[in-house]
């Protein structure tokens, strides 16, 4: 029983603080990707409702924003 607790404490010690920081960052970036995805979808829906001259550029920008969020998530997963 005591060995189990000691093993867990050793694991937690090795994990602290950067493992925890990495998990928090990944959760944060995961939520951010959902936000960027919603932005893309909303832009599509509202552009369908009202089509304007600037809309294709805006569609490109929100899409690049989503790609940037995914890229940073992958970078964080690899390098943090």
């Amino acid at each position: 029983m005591n060995t189990d607790i000691l093993n867990f404490l050793n694991f937690a010690q090795g994990f602290w603080p950067y493992g925890l920081v990495k998990i928090l960052m990944m959760v944060l970036l995961g939520i951010y990707i959902i936000f960027a995805g919603i932005l893309v979808r909303e832009e599509q829906l509202i552009s369908r409702m009202v089509q304007m001259a600037f809309s294709p550029i805006l569609r490109g920008i929100v899409f690049i924003h989503l790609l940037a969020a995914i890229s940073i998530f992958i970078l964080a997963l690899m390098f943090l």
Partner: protein, 197 residues
């Protein structure tokens, strides 16, 4: 007695002006909306005056400049432990700037897609309140009973924008155009269009 075609004709004094990012566009050329009929023409496309964006633009600028002050400050101080992996110094600013850009983009989209349209047949109000809540309301021009506008405060008068209130007949929803440029001109055009109906 005007004929049906004459009825739908917009006032001839209106010449196209404004560009895609203006908040006051007269007879916009490249615009089409979902419920638009064949003979329907957009006479005015309005957004909130650009100066209403100054708040979030200032917040964005401050947020964008913060790391430039704080990163050197932290590096000089003893607040950061010595063994911080170097990847943190690249990825954390990247995440920060992604967030700042996302904030600015969202605020811009709210401004860009919160539009008021006056066509030769009706008035349309497209509201995008938040990421998950938007609303589109419209009323026929012949249901409009009264159009008034209000300008209050220094900024309204300085930038010449104001709120327009459109009262409709019966139980139809009343409309409020908030902080639109040249409210006097908008009311004038709307009255002209209502008279043509």
């Amino acid at each position: 007695m005007p004929t049906t075609t004459e009825k739908t004709k917009p006032p001839s004094t209106l010449t196209p002006r404004g560009h895609a990012l203006s908040s006051f566009i007269v007879r916009p050329q490249n615009i089409h909306f979902e419920t638009q009929t064949e003979q329907e023409e957009v006479i005015l496309l309005l957004r909130q005056h650009f100066s209403t964006n100054f708040g979030w633009i200032a917040v964005t600028a401050i947020l964008a400049l913060l790391p430039l002050f704080f990163i050197p400050m932290f590096l000089r101080s003893a607040l950061i432990p010595v063994n911080v992996p170097s990847s943190y110094f690249v990825l954390i600013p990247l995440i920060w700037y992604l967030g700042v850009f996302g904030f600015a983009l969202m605020r811009f989209l709210y401004w860009y897609f919160n539009i008021y349209m006056i066509t030769n047949e009706r008035v349309i109000d497209v509201d995008w309140y938040s990421l998950l809540y938007k609303q589109m309301s419209e009323t026929k021009l012949d249901r409009i009973q009264d159009v008034t506008f209000k300008q209050h405060g220094f900024l309204d008068l300085f930038f010449n924008y104001g709120d327009i209130y459109i009262q409709t007949a019966g139980t139809a929803q009343n409309f409020e155009f908030i902080a639109v440029p040249n409210p006097n001109e908008v009311v004038q055009h709307m009255n002209q269009l209502v008279e043509l109906m």
